[in-house]
């Protein structure tokens, strides 16, 4: 069964990046997804911070380039998603 964290994570990714759940993959990045501009980037950060109640460091924010990176950062904060 899908964990609650997994569900929230997928919901944020899908809603902010306009993807279907089955389209999520690690390689989607700022470079290959047109809608992922700087405003979208901040929206992603803000949604993740609010949903999982943590603060991302400046380095974290800059390091996030792909969906894979988001998973890594979440893992760093003890939130494991696949």
């Amino acid at each position: 069964m899908m964990t609650k964290a997994q569900d929230i994570y997928e919901d944020i990714i899908c809603k902010i990046l306009l993807l279907e759940r089955n389209m999520i993959n690690n390689d989607i990045s700022q470079k290959n997804l047109e809608i992922w501009d700087s405003m979208t980037h901040l929206a992603l950060v803000s949604e993740l911070e609010q949903a999982f109640d943590f603060f991302l460091s400046d380095d974290d924010i800059i390091e996030i380039k792909t969906i894979g990176d988001i998973k890594k950062i979440l893992g760093k904060h003890g939130i494991n998603v696949t």
Binding site: I16, L18, I35, A43, I61
Partner: protein
């Protein structure tokens, strides 16, 4: 396949997501996906289009998400222009800027005072003397007045300038208000002086952001981390509150405002059931229980006194209910406050339709207040144009629910607004008389009608604009003009004659109820560009008197042709035959129902009702 209908349905399906679950990421998602829809095949009527320009000293883009969707939920199709970040001065000064190119109907400015101050202002403030503080105040206000005045001159749009949020911090701490100009007072003075500078300006409005932030909570409206990261000043959760308040202006601008509150009685205006609990048993009192209903009535009456019509739609025996209005010591709303009522055992849908006919306003002007969720559902599903308020379960929250509504706004307040509550009562009395008197002519004669017809003066221009934009039924061409356009016509008297009609009768003064705009096309040919009357005075032959006066004037000027048009809309079939009835001859008829008529004042005559006294000024 009809692509117009398709894109509309697609939008509606998307909006369903925020209707059901209004979270920020849903708004984001729906906004972005609607942006991807192709509206180019859809012809958006001017009444549903709106161009909005947002300008700010910080990143305002996320506000557009809510404004856009709120507009769409109201049936509007917005185009939002977002000026480049912190470039509002250049945008206003440069006539070629994106701002002017976007041809906004409304310009909204959010400027942080910090962007107008030097960086060290907060640092130096405790050491700054009173004279320097005043100089700084003057400088900022002058700068803003100049900027807004320039924008006002260059654009016909409505301008909303957001005021400054009073800080909760002061370097003086608890001693702030011991200073002649403390830190908070400095902001307050800016706001007061801004308001004062534009109090008499009909296009520039000061948007009370300070109030919106207070109401939401000053400790949480700002997003500090996102503000440092990307100049995103407002928290996502604050944006709906700002947008909701902005919609008050947008609804007023687009005539989406509501004019009449239709009230249920048992459980809504008083507690209990009059038919069972009787006069001394219902809850209506100066102390609890019952004081919550008295207080709710006070708020309703305050709206009534500014021009919002009240009506009743209730399932009761008429006599039982009227007894409360007439005899209950704490019943504040009286019969004279009601424009009309339906107190019977009929279906409330039918009653509402009848009320709409009797009061002569569309269902889209109604707000329906009823404590019974089943009645609300019945109205909501049968009459979607009526705004059904989801009243809280407890009557102690009714007042708050009413006061939170943003549907009653108009962009100016006219004398007619202030008297409207009384005027409808006078009208109801007239209708009673109408039923007693037999012939309609006799009845009209008995009203001792005086029609005052004169050329517009500048005091009446707001009322003219309001009539032009709100009159649907007795309106020959339904041309909507902004106040700025009316101003232009008014100052171009060689090209336009603007007539106004005021009506008095033995029950009172109806105020300015008619407007006609006559366009001078040439020495021989004049055209009636607009001719309209408020539905309150229809059916008393006043329209003939009004037209007669125009014909008489053009006769005097030896004008050969007086042309007139009928442009059909969904609501104005009432006046389809207005011109032929008065001897105008058809010269053109198009497939869409448009008709053009001509009258030759030098050859033809018009019969007018002599029992209406005409006063010309």
């Amino acid at each position: 396949m009809n692509s117009r209908i398709d894109v509309f349905h697609e939008q509606n399906d998307l909006l369903e997501l925020v209707r059901k679950e209004p979270t920020h990421r849903n708004y984001w998602n729906v906004y972005k996906r609607i942006k991807q829809l192709d509206f180019s095949t859809m012809e958006i009527p001017p009444s549903q289009g709106i161009n909005i320009a947002l300008m700010s000293s910080f990143t305002i883009d996320p506000l557009a998400i809510y404004l856009d969707i709120y507009c769409r939920l109201e049936g509007l199709f917005p185009e939002i222009y977002i000026a480049p970040f912190n470039r509002f001065q250049e945008e206003i000064i440069n006539e070629q800027s994106g701002l002017y190119q976007s041809q906004p109907d409304i310009v909204i400015l959010f400027i942080e005072v910090e962007s107008l101050l030097e960086d060290m202002f907060r640092v130096k403030f405790p050491q700054t003397n009173i004279k320097d503080k005043q100089t700084e105040l003057d400088r900022i206000i002058q700068n803003l007045i100049q900027l807004l005045t320039l924008l006002n001159q260059r654009s016909e749009s409505l301008i909303l300038f957001s005021n400054f949020v009073l800080p909760t911090f002061s370097p003086f701490g608890i001693l702030d208000n011991k200073q002649e100009i403390g830190f908070k007072r400095f902001y307050q003075l800016l706001n007061t002086r801004l308001e004062k500078s534009f109090r008499n300006n009909k296009q520039v409005f000061i948007f009370d952001l300070n109030e919106v932030a207070s109401s939401y909570g000053k400790d949480r409206y700002m997003n500090y981390s996102m503000n440092y990261r990307g100049s995103l000043l407002f928290k996502d959760s604050f944006l709906p509150h700002v947008s909701y308040e902005l919609m008050g202006y947008i609804k007023a601008l687009k005539s989406k405002n509501r004019k009449c509150v239709v009230l249920d009685l048992d459980g809504t205006l008083w507690g209990g059931i009059i038919g069972e609990d009787e006069l001394d048993g219902i809850k209506l009192n100066v102390t609890y229980p019952g004081n919550e209903f008295v207080d709710f009535q006070r708020s309703l009456l305050s709206l009534n006194n500014r021009g919002i019509i009240l009506a009743v739609n209730s399932k009761n025996n008429l006599d039982d209910a009227l007894e409360v209005f007439q005899k209950h010591p704490f019943m504040l709303i009286k019969e004279k406050n009601l424009a009309a009522y339906r107190i019977n055992w009929n279906d409330k849908v039918q009653n509402l339709i009848e009320l709409s006919k009797e009061i002569n306003i569309g269902l889209d002007s109604f707000v329906f207040l009823d404590d019974n969720p089943i009645e609300r559902e019945r109205i909501r599903t049968s009459l979607p144009d009526v705004h059904v308020v989801e009243l809280p379960a407890s009557p102690t929250l009714f007042r708050q629910a009413l006061e939170k509504m943003n549907d009653f706004n108009t962009l100016s307040l006219t004398r007619e607004d202030l008297n409207r509550g009384k005027m409808y009562y006078a009208r109801r009395k007239r209708q009673v008389l109408e039923q007693q008197v037999q012939s309609i002519e006799e009845f009209i004669k008995s009203l001792n009608i005086v029609a005052k017809i004169k050329f517009a003066d500048d005091l009446v221009l707001p009322r003219i604009t309001s009539l032009l934009n709100r009159t649907n039924q007795f309106n020959l061409t339904t041309r909507r003009y902004t106040e700025a356009e009316i101003h232009q016509m008014f100052s171009n008297s060689e090209r336009y004659l603007i007539y106004t009609l005021e009506v008095l009768d033995k029950y009172g003064h109806e105020g300015t109820v008619g407007v006609a705009i006559v366009k001078i096309n040439s020495v021989e040919t004049y055209l009636i560009d607009s001719f309209l009357m408020s539905c309150r005075v229809i059916g008393r032959k006043i329209e003939t008197t009004f037209l007669y006066k125009i014909i008489k004037d053009v006769q005097k000027k030896k004008v050969e042709n007086l042309e007139a048009e009928y442009i059909p809309t969904k609501k104005n079939s009432l006046v389809k035959d207005f011109y032929p009835k008065h001897g105008f001859k058809l010269v053109e008829k198009r497939n869409d129902g448009y008709m053009r008529w001509v009258f030759h004042p030098l050859e033809s005559k018009i019969i007018y009702p002599e029992y209406i006294q005409v006063v010309e000024e």
